[in-house]
């Protein structure tokens, strides 16, 4: 998927001005955090589980080569195939190869961020294979030819009215007078249309929330059941997973599952958590005849051993973006690539290079809310700061900001000069602002004063006044 992350500021302005998005974000900002808080309140062990989940993933990352090999061995024993892809191109070719060999014409898809990352849909379409998104949110944005704006709720940026309009436009074969006022009617309509596609599909492609080394299983987590119909009915089940999805055992998966749904939607368990292992067994009554796991690297192995390794603990729950005030102001599309919000601000530069995503680590106040809700205890602000340091070293910031910050730091190391300049500047500003108490307009701070008053200083510095009062006898 092409990144427009460098245009974050312009994208953000578009998002701020979009009333549909703002209405949708308003609901999201209340809904998700409330549900998570309720779920956490009901599980006293939640914080201890976060620690254990973090420790499991840290353990895996230290030994990930061995665990991947063990996973591959088990998948093969079960009659499945593991394919290794260094790049999005290699991954696309592997999937295309499987589809072609099976003469696939249509392919159903469960939600997969890796599929977005490698640009799979466009590639399949270019080769006359039709991908059909089955997750309702993904289906909706597929109709709109849009990218997902959230990693678990891809259509969160849309209102019900917007979705109704899309359905009417796209499902033109249905009676135009039908009543779609209730959201349930939209769900039923999508269900009816997609049901047929499940049976027509030649190949079913899903992502994976986890890969279990012990058993060679892939795990998907859905509420709809779409990922299951996607994998059970066609000739082949193809799983797209990045390397760091691996966990050692079924028990480890269970520990992390306990924090995943609660962090994402406030549910204790998602409706359908499915462990898939290999193709159908000889005597099975149903199931796919082939099972393929495509393991994608795309920069993850290079993050190991660096100050960014911890982003590889991410389990894609979305809690960070649900709670992020910046995401909640501008929406997911502003981030310009597959992964939005705080985790996107770290993962995007990690995978596509910080020079292609310069604004993302900067578009944060470091309020720390993301880290406080992350089930895997990922220190997101710290890693964003590391990217800011990389940008500083590589001089990727604007000249003006580098000059201003450099000048401030330079002066701050020279207290006599600092005190001299500060006293003069604050005296002047204080005098200028004395009548109103604030500035309606302040050159050099026009971004601020466009919509806010800038409070005037009191006119003297604290240190000067303190020194004076001390000399006059007595402290305060």
């Amino acid at each position: 998927m092409q990144a427009t992350s460098n245009a974050f500021r312009a994208n953000a302005r578009v998002g701020l001005a979009n009333p549909t998005l703002q209405s949708a974000l308003g609901k999201m900002k209340v809904g998700f955090p409330t549900k998570r808080a309720e779920a956490v309140a009901k599980l006293p062990e939640f914080d201890a589980l976060r620690d254990q989940a973090r420790d499991i993933k840290n353990h895996v990352l230290e030994n990930i080569d061995w665990y991947l090999e063990r996973f591959e061995q088990r998948v093969t024993e079960a009659g499945g195939h593991v394919h290794w892809a260094r790049t999005p191109e290699e991954a696309r070719e592997i999937v295309l190869g499987i589809c072609r060999r099976l003469g696939a014409r249509t392919v159903t898809k469960g939600k997969s961020m890796i599929a977005e990352e490698i640009g799979l849909n466009a590639h399949l379409e270019k080769h006359a294979i039709e991908p059909v998104e089955t997750d309702l949110g993904e289906y909706i944005i597929q109709l709109r030819n849009e990218a997902p704006s959230h990693i678990i709720a891809p259509a969160v940026h849309l209102t019900k009215d917007a979705i109704e309009a899309d359905f009417r436009r796209a499902h033109s074969h249905l009676d135009a007078r039908r009543d779609l006022t209730e959201p349930q009617s939209l769900v039923a309509e999508a269900r009816g249309i997609l049901r047929k596609r499940y049976f027509e599909a030649d190949v079913g492609i899903t992502g994976a929330n986890f890969l279990v080394a012990e058993t060679g299983s892939s795990v998907i987590v859905t509420n709809e059941g779409n990922g299951d119909l996607t994998q059970l009915l066609p000739k082949a089940h193809v799983v797209l997973a990045s390397l760091e999805k691996i966990v050692p055992t079924l028990e480890d998966a269970s520990t992390i599952l306990r924090v995943l749904a609660r962090s994402a939607t406030g549910q204790e368990m998602s409706v359908y958590t499915t462990f898939s292992t290999g193709p159908k067994r000889a005597a099975d009554l149903d199931g796919p005849g082939e099972y393929h796991v495509v393991l994608l690297d795309n920069g993850r192995s290079a993050l190991l051993g660096t100050e960014f390794q911890e982003i590889l603990r991410c389990i894609r729950c979305g809690a960070c973006m649900n709670h992020c005030p910046v995401y909640g102001a501008v929406g997911g599309h502003a981030y310009g690539w597959v992964y939005p919000g705080p985790m996107g601000a770290v993962l995007t530069p990690s995978l596509i290079g910080v020079e292609n995503a310069r604004p993302l680590p900067n578009a944060s106040t470091f309020c720390g809310k993301c880290e406080s809700v992350c089930p895997m205890r990922i220190p997101l602000p710290k890693m964003m700061r590391h990217y800011r340091a990389r940008e500083w070293e590589r001089k990727l910031g604007t000249r003006v900001s580098r000059l201003a910050l450099g000048a401030w730091a330079w002066a701050a190391r020279r207290p006599a000069l600092y005190r001299f300049v500060a006293a003069r500047a604050m005296s002047a500003l204080g005098w200028l602002g004395r009548r109103h108490g604030s500035f309606f307009n302040l050159p050099l701070a026009s971004g601020w004063t466009a919509t806010r008053e800038f409070p005037a200083p009191q006119g003297r510095t604290f240190q000067d006044l303190w020194r004076e009062r001390r000399r006059a006898g007595g402290g305060s």
Binding site: M28, Q184, T215, G225, D252, T255, Y272, T277, L285
Partner: protein, 234 residues
């Protein structure tokens, strides 16, 4: 393809500043897989007797819109199924997986039930299955695919009814994994793991439209659990 495999594994090792793991380290990792240690289990799912487990299961099921009926013996199952279908205004025609657990139920006791055993036809009617276990902690049904257990029966019907002996109700999810391991002939390697293990917690739903929960997205919109309390139907 071995080019990519070697490159990726090599890249991982280079990043971690080491070669492939030595035998001692491998032995530790093997031991951890064999021992599959559990993490912290929620207190509410532990130390419960049969009655406690069933109560917890019912409470949790209610929270996820899964209805529960308790019957004393297999003989009462057909009547309960008929009653449930009537209460939901559903026809008394059901598709039923060929699960041996369901063989032991005297279905003829409810002659109004029309039962088709086998794979689901794809029609969106009523599907009846059993389950390997029910996890009381979260009211999660553990259903494994197999030669008598089509996984599609959990998804294609519009209404899903699960008949479960009470002895298969466990506290935490980890107990269900141990049951699956015990049921397979060999250690839980891929060859003995069922193709599909579905953990089902309530009926299908979506929140994709303005975060309002709507039922019946793709899977069943109703889930009904019939728990059989005597142990004859183990």
């Amino acid at each position: 393809m071995s080019g990519a495999r070697d490159a990726i594994l090599g890249g991982i090792r280079r990043s971690l500043g080491r070669g492939a793991l030595d035998a001692a380290r491998v032995a530790t990792l093997e031991a951890r897989l064999d021992g599959h240690p559990r993490g912290q289990l929620p207190a509410r799912a532990q130390g419960l007797d049969r009655a406690g487990l069933l109560d917890l299961l019912e409470r949790q099921a209610k929270a996820v819109a899964c209805s529960v009926a308790r019957v004393r013996s297999a003989a009462e199952v057909p009547g309960e199924l008929a009653r449930y279908l009537k209460s939901q205004n559903l026809p008394s025609r059901v598709e039923m997986s060929p699960d041996p657990t369901l063989d032991a139920v005297p279905w003829s006791a409810a002659p109004m039930l029309e039962i088709a055993r086998g794979k689901p036809s794809g029609e969106e009617g009523v599907g009846v299955t059993s389950a390997c276990a029910a996890v009381a902690e979260t009211a999660t049904l553990v259903i494994a695919s197999g030669e008598r257990s089509p996984a599609t029966m959990n998804f294609l019907p519009d209404t899903h009814v699960v008949v479960l002996p009470a002895s298969r109700v466990v506290g935490p999810l980890e107990d269900a994994w141990d049951r699956l391991r015990a049921a397979s002939a060999a250690p839980m390697a891929a060859a003995t793991m069922p193709r599909t293990v579905n953990l089902v917690t309530g009926p299908s739903r979506t929140g994709d439209i303005e975060q309002k929960i709507e039922m019946g997205a793709h899977g069943p919109r109703r889930l009904h659990l019939i728990v059989v309390e005597d142990d004859a139907l183990a």
